[in-house]
């Protein structure tokens, strides 16, 4: 970061000899950096909740004599695998939207946000399809630790997807109507990537391994 970038959102209020302040040059110029730090702290904190859940999963699985239990229906791999791609695509679309916003292309941002929200909705739909299929085959939450882990982790993750979906949908609508705060989209994008990473970990440990 160099002294030349001092002209931030508040550039007009800053007196000229700011470049002399080497010591303070990483100090805030506006709320954006503060918001970014806050979001990073929040995601780090919230990640610990998932760490706790995965810890529980690991402990339960390590104690089980057979995993998965012999009478449990086999989990599908293809559909959740497809869902992983959907989630990755959605994340990429959000990243695209942020980039389009940075470049000042409102229409591009709106389109990318729309695609991201659509893919997110597709994720939830596919996940619902997987759930109902397994439920019909007899895998219900009260059916032992295996089902407990499967439903608790995927449902709690899906809840996060729904929250993110609401935000992305809102941004997509707003972007068409004239744009929302750049920082908002960027930070919700971080959240969306976070949810995607959690899904990748879930897919790898629940469905594959």
């Amino acid at each position: 970061m160099s002294g030349a970038t001092q002209q931030g959102g508040h550039g007009e209020q800053v007196p000229a000899p700011v470049y002399g302040l080497a010591r303070y040059r990483r100090r805030p110029r506006g709320a954006e950096r503060t918001a970014r730090v806050g979001m990073a702290v929040f995601l780090g904190s919230w990640a610990m909740l998932f760490v706790g859940l995965f810890f529980a999963y690991a402990a339960v699985r390590a104690r089980a004599p057979v995993w998965p239990p012999l009478d449990a229906p086999p989990l599908p791999r293809l559909l959740p695998g497809l869902n992983t791609l959907v989630m990755a695509g959605s994340s990429a679309a959000v990243a695209r939207a942020v980039r389009a916003q940075d470049l000042g292309r409102a229409a591009g941002a709106a389109a990318a946000l729309g695609i991201a929200a659509g893919l997110g909705a597709a994720f939830v739909a596919l996940q619902g399809f997987v759930w109902t299929g397994l439920w019909r085959q007899g895998l219900v939450p009260s059916g032992g630790t295996y089902a407990s882990v499967f439903y608790a982790l995927t449902a709690f993750h899906a809840l996060h997807v729904l929250v993110g979906l609401a935000a992305l949908g809102w941004f997509a609508v707003r972007a068409r109507a004239g744009g929302s705060g750049r920082t908002d989209v960027r930070l919700w994008g971080w959240y969306w990537h976070f949810v995607g990473v959690v899904w990748a970990a879930l897919y790898a440990t629940l469905y594959l391994a």
Partner: protein
């Protein structure tokens, strides 16, 4: 105005204070108002939790006798007697309320909110609105706690640690337990919101010149606490979530099942998750008190804090170590001896940095011009009770000793010395000290000193009695300890401990009276901006209570937080202290030199 100040001014412009009553006092985003809201909510529950403790003490002092006064009101069904089920609910809710709904809001919610922006020279928190949500979420959790008392089978009764299988539907089928677990989850969410705010505020909004090594120790304590909260309260959240799923949706995380093919859930899993959070929680509650002590002792000894950097680093090391010792709560769960030894090693290692902190307090007082005002008395008292708590902790951290002392009253005495006595007295230190900043008036000194002696002697005798009883073999949580022949000899000790507890509780009303007299009475005179003659920004750079925007101009900090008894400062100003942002007459050269210290 320097360019650095101009940058901060631009980032935090002054807003006009809200004019409507609701925006000003109820749905306020002003950190000072939110701090007072947390204070009220916390103090009310502190009184409530204390009253529950009195009922427990009544049961241990006088089992099978009707409770005087309140027995006829709340226990009419049993003729004023405390039955086993009610007794279980008493010690459960006492612990939960005190830790999550009383000490946490006062120490972290109130002081964190009040002090972080004021002491680092900011106009408000980084996210004022999130701050408001944090308080209202917290209030929701308190309402859930209150609601749990009015359910069919009564409130939670599985102990504050909420161990399954007792805390699952098998042991506690009532709605009360569910509501309490939900309350824990909600209050965890509130704490996390607060922590995100605190961490970000300290990183981003320090005034120009307020380097990390010039932060008042109070801020260090609150900041490290916020980091621990952000990292480990969500782990408790995950545990509470899984327990709720077990209770409401029939999952089996914590229920050991009979099936040999499928395996079952694991009650010990709860203990892991709970203590991964629970041990840092001990430090979450004590680090703010440490920080407050570090500043207050220096202020009232009129000396710079001894080895400020040492204290800061010791607190950081304690913070790191606190995340690596949780297993010492679980030595008796059949843990591998090797693992147990590792946990023991780290546990005992914590005493090294803790000793650095305590010795620095002692050396700060050493040869100081000590002023024994009420905050200083409370600070010294905190150091004493924390010392007793810490030293008894060494016995419990040691595996071979813990095998005997585990689940005895010794454990109860130990953690009450640290978490109850030290945190409570630390909070009182802060309250007496920052009261003029919050309300513009000083608490009465005579009542305050009486309150101090009642508290110090009371706490020491009550929890000392518990240590003795535990060392003699009395198990904790027994409904009627004297069913056991070998505990019958402790009847007198228990009864005396109960008398002391009643006196301690009664003594707290000195504070209640003092509080209301000062806040609502007409007699107390305004305290002026800096009644204690100290250095930190909230005293030396703004009025009492501060205006809505805290500082008319964001201060430029030029020296560390404990500039006392510097002869050069005295020569230039005639005072024995210099504010952190004070520019001394004559160019401020000596201040720049002293700023390094």
């Amino acid at each position: 105005m320097t360019p650095a100040q101009a940058l901060m001014e631009a980032a935090q412009p002054i807003h006009a204070p809200p004019t409507s009553f609701w925006r000003r006092y109820v749905f306020s985003i002003d950190h000072k108002v939110i701090a007072r809201q947390f204070l009220w909510a916390g103090l009310l529950f502190l009184l409530f939790g204390g009253a529950l403790a009195m009922l427990i003490r009544w049961q241990w002092g006088f089992p099978y006798r009707p409770v005087p006064l309140v027995g006829g009101l709340f226990l009419r069904g049993s003729g004023g007697l405390i039955g086993p089920a009610v007794y279980q609910q008493l010690f459960t809710t006492h612990g939960l309320i005190m830790i999550f709904f009383a000490v946490t809001p006062v120490l972290i919610g109130c002081f964190g909110n009040l002090l972080i922006p004021l002491m680092i020279g900011a106009r408000d928190m980084a996210f004022p609105r999130l701050n408001m949500y944090s308080f209202w979420t917290f209030l929701l959790s308190q309402l859930l706690v209150l609601a749990s008392f009015f359910t069919a089978l009564g409130t939670a009764g599985a102990g504050w640690t909420t161990y399954p299988p007792l805390s699952t539907n098998v042991g506690m089928p009532g709605l009360g337990q569910t509501l309490m677990v939900a309350a824990i989850f909600v209050t965890g969410a509130s704490s996390t919101m607060g922590a995100v705010n605190y961490v970000t505020t300290v990183i981003r909004l320090r005034a120009p010149g307020m380097t990390y090594m010039r932060l008042p120790l109070t801020i260090w304590g609150l900041w490290l606490t916020a980091i621990l909260t952000a990292l480990f309260v969500p782990v408790l959240g995950s545990a509470a979530l899984l327990l709720l799923l077990d209770r409401e949706f029939g999952t089996q995380f914590f229920l050991p099942a009979a099936s040999a093919v499928r395996g079952g859930g694991d009650p010990i899993l709860w203990q892991h998750l709970f203590w991964i959070f629970g041990h840092p929680e001990v430090y979450i509650l004590i680090l703010p008190a440490w920080g407050i002590l570090g500043d207050v002792i220096s202020f009232f000894a009129r000396k710079p804090h001894h080895w400020y950097r040492g204290t800061v680093w010791a607190m950081i090391v304690v913070t790191v170590l606190s995340a690596m010792v949780y297993g010492h709560h679980m030595f008796l769960t059949g843990m591998s001896p090797l693992l147990g030894e590792g946990f023991m090693l780290f546990t005992l290692l914590i005493s090294a940095p803790s000793m650095v902190v305590v010795l620095n307090w002692v050396l700060t007082v050493w040869k100081g011009s000590v002023r024994l005002d009420t905050p200083m008395l409370f600070a010294l008292g905190t150091a004493f009770v924390f010392g007793v708590g810490g030293l008894t902790g060494l016995f419990l951290g040691d595996v071979s000793m813990d095998l005997y002392l585990h689940d005895t009253m010794f454990v109860v005495g130990h953690f009450h010395f640290t978490m109850a006595a030290a945190s409570f007295m630390g909070a009182m230190t802060g309250l007496y000290f920052w009261f003029p900043k919050m309300f513009g008036r000083r608490l009465d000194e005579r009542l305050g000193k009486a309150h101090f002696w009642f508290t110090l002697i009371g706490l020491t005798l009550v929890f000392g009695g518990q240590l003795l009883a535990g060392y003699a073999g009395q198990q904790r949580r027994l409904f009627d300890p004297f069913q056991y022949t070998f505990i019958q000899g402790l009847r007198g000790l228990n009864r005396w401990t109960s008398y002391f507890a009643f006196a301690l509780f009664a003594g707290q009303f000195l504070f209640v009276a003092n509080f209301f007299r000062t806040v609502f009475g007409r007699r107390a005179a305004p305290s002026g901006p800096n009644p204690w003659e100290v250095t930190t920004l909230e005293w030396s750079a703004t009025s009492s209570p501060p205006p809505f925007h805290n500082f008319d101009r964001i201060p430029e900090v030029v020296r560390g937080p404990h500039e006392f008894s510097n002869p050069e400062v005295r020569r230039l100003t005639g005072r024995d202290y210099a504010g952190q942002a004070e520019v001394l007459p004559g160019g401020g050269e000596p201040a720049a030199a002293a700023g390094k210290g």
